[in-house]
């Protein structure tokens, strides 16, 4: 073998190696380090952090766990439903579609912190929403969304903000998926007598399954990392896993406890990803000749 072709043979590996090494280091090392931090105290094995996490009156672990799951369970279905509806709406032809599309996906670029601040301006006591309702006379007193005693309203505000901010991602994935379904396929069903519901049921949904799967995985994984929105709107009134990790690390310097939170988020993500991939299967794409 000549020198050039040996070079050619290994070139792709050489090109990929630095990235891979970087990623493996920056993800592998922290995971190992996280385990070490979580289960040691002054260099010796210890369950002190776990003990603190589960039983300390300062720890809001169980609340954080349930609230995170609750938020995910409420937010994701709403997002998927709205995104699906929007994707189908935008799959039709109408005047000004591109402009409308651009406007609808604007939140894609907005960080969670900024989204929290934006919705704070909508919902605060002197915010737009309260002023609007008071001025048209629907309410006399402002509706309070923020403060520990209004926790259900804080929860609602978080849901609203997350739906506003992150539905766009689901929408874009589903819309791209819909666009890949050739219009002919839907029209053919229409010609053969399928009504709107039948077209969705038999043609659109089955063909959209891969996109739906991708959207669900991505959204769910990110939803379990929810932090910025919650921190801006509710602080620790509604504790979430990432928020507690932040709090334990930055405010209390409980690095070990924060590391456990991090590991829990990682474990949940991996499990969820695995479940989704098992659950959804686009059979027609896999069955070979």
């Amino acid at each position: 073998m000549s020198k050039v072709s040996v070079m050619e043979k290994y070139l792709p590996y050489i090109l990929i190696a630095p990235s891979l090494a970087y990623l493996l280091f920056f993800i592998g090392y922290p995971l190992a380090q996280g385990l070490y931090l979580a289960f040691t105290e002054n260099g010796a094995f210890s369950l002190e952090n776990i003990e603190y996490l589960l039983n300390s009156p300062f720890s809001k672990f169980w609340e954080a766990l349930t609230d995170t799951f609750l938020l995910v369970l409420v937010i994701i279905p709403i997002q998927v439903a709205i995104a699906l509806g929007l994707a189908m709406l935008f799959n039709m032809k109408f005047w000004g579609r591109n402009t409308a599309l651009y406007l609808v996906i604007l939140p894609l670029t907005i960080s969670d912190v900024a989204a929290g601040l934006i919705w704070y301006s909508m919902l605060s006591t002197n915010g737009f929403f309260n002023k609007l309702l008071m001025n048209i006379g629907l309410i006399k007193e402002p509706i309070y969304f923020f403060g520990y005693e209004y926790r259900p309203m804080e929860f609602l505000a978080i849901v609203l903000t997350e739906v506003w901010r992150a539905t766009a991602i689901v929408f874009v994935i589903l819309f791209a998926g819909l666009q890949m379904i050739s219009q002919d396929h839907i029209e053919a069903a229409e010609v053969f007598g399928a009504n709107v519901w039948q077209r969705l049921r038999y043609i659109v949904f089955p063909m959209l399954k891969p996109s739906l799967q991708a959207a669900l995985i991505i959204r769910t994984l990110f939803a379990f990392q929810i932090f910025g929105v919650v921190w801006v709107l509710a602080g620790r009134d509604i504790p979430v896993l990432a928020g507690e990790a932040y709090y334990e690390q930055v405010q209390l310097r409980h690095t070990g406890v924060a590391a456990i939170y991090a590991l829990i988020i990682a474990a949940i993500s991996v499990t969820i990803g695995y479940i989704y991939i098992k659950l959804f299967r686009a059979q027609y794409l896999e069955e070979g000749g």
Partner: protein, 377 residues
């Protein structure tokens, strides 16, 4: 089973006018072919009939029912899409069965019909496969099978045989035609293959640039083309066209082409009278020009000219001569295999009873303009 009427259909896509004022009356149970070059608006016309496009102007009638704004599924039509539109997530069986399932046929009936259609299109062994496991031609046959399992009022087919090999295509042509005769469904069939159009259509509508150029039986389209476009589009090799000046002296008609003169029979006098001194377009098909010794005995009115052999296409069943008459090339078709030396001189006869004359400006046939009033854009 229904008659279909298109009244002044116009369809624009932004600046392009895909269909530009189409009037067409299709009889109940008729097999009509839309024939025309690529991009002339055939698919668009079909989609308007199916209800997939709303025309910008005009109406679509099924019988006396105005269906212009009716959604496709309320029209009881069936369609073979040009792109097939076979659903990739359904097996072939389910693809074909879909229209029946939607119309709530009983299971045994669905099974019977799917098997029947698959048999007819020779795809029985493929029923259990997914579309991505099929070749283009096989997919196309699935699309045809899916369109014929139901009995629609109107069957729309957009180039349904374009992707089949020659042998299968010939067989499918006759199968489809037989089927259509049997179930007597009103059929609108799009193709740009003129052989297909000639052999299958009860009538042919020749289209160009979004307009219908001529509607008629296949033999009418061939023998009495209404304008230069139809004359040139139908028939292979293409009809010979040349400019000639009309000279009428003592009831004698002379067509003066630059290289030669042709004396026309008196029969042409009524139509050519007013063209005295003017230039017209003359057309004659290659099969209506006979070299010495090849003139059929039935051909009476002949006009002889001479030319040099420029080029010979030996097709086996036919021989095509390209004859240089000075400043133009005449294409001559002789049936059978014959040998000609390039450069040799050949005398050929134009069959004057099969000559076509068109107005130079409007390109409309002077002989057959009553067939249909046509304006070219």
């Amino acid at each position: 089973m229904v008659d279909v009427h298109l009244k002044g259909i116009v369809k624009r896509f932004g600046k392009t006018i895909a269909v530009n004022g189409i009037d067409l009356d299709i009889r109940d149970g008729e097999f009509i072919v839309l024939l025309g070059p690529s991009g002339c608006g055939k698919t668009t016309t079909l989609r308007v009939i199916a209800g997939l496009e709303k025309p910008d102007e005009g109406r679509v009638l099924f019988g006396d029912r105005d269906v212009t704004y009716l959604p496709p599924r309320e029209r009881n039509v069936s369609m073979v899409f040009q792109s097939y539109a076979i659903w990739p997530h359904m097996k072939v069986y389910d693809n074909i069965a879909f229209p029946l399932k939607i119309k709530k046929f009983p299971k045994e009936e669905i099974d019977k019909r799917v098997k029947w259609a698959a048999e007819l299109l020779q795809i029985s062994e493929l029923l259990d496969r997914y579309p991505h496991q099929l070749s283009g031609g096989q997919r196309q046959r699935v699309a045809v099978a899916r369109a014929i399992v139901v009995e629609p009022d109107v069957l729309l087919m957009d180039e349904p045989l374009s992707n089949l090999d020659a042998l299968l295509r010939v067989k499918m042509r006759s199968e489809l035609k037989k089927l259509q005769r049997r179930i007597k469904v009103t059929t609108i069939y799009v193709t740009h293959d003129q052989v297909e159009a000639m052999t299958m259509g009860d009538r042919i509508a020749v289209m160009n640039k979004g307009k219908i150029q001529q509607v008629g039986r296949p033999d009418e389209i061939y023998l009495k083309p209404a304008n230069v476009f139809v004359a040139g589009f139908v028939g292979t090799p293409q009809m010979n066209f040349f400019d000639a000046t009309v000279e009428i002296r003592d009831n004698e008609i002379i067509l003066d082409a630059s290289d030669f003169k042709v004396r026309l029979p008196r029969d042409y006098l009524p139509v050519l009278q007013e063209y005295n001194g003017k230039t017209v377009i003359v057309g004659i098909r290659p099969e209506h020009i006979y070299p010495e010794g090849h003139a059929p005995t039935t051909a009476k009115k002949l006009s002889w000219i001479e030319g040099t052999v420029d080029f010979v296409e030996a097709l086996g069943s036919d021989t095509i001569l390209h004859l240089n008459t000075g400043s133009m090339i005449l294409v001559v078709k002789i049936s059978g295999s014959h040998h000609y030396e390039i450069g040799s001189k050949v005398k050929v006869a134009l069959d004057l009873s099969n000559i076509h004359v068109f107005d130079k400006e409007s390109q409309v046939s002077l002989l057959y303009k009553r067939q249909r009033e046509v304006q070219l854009s």
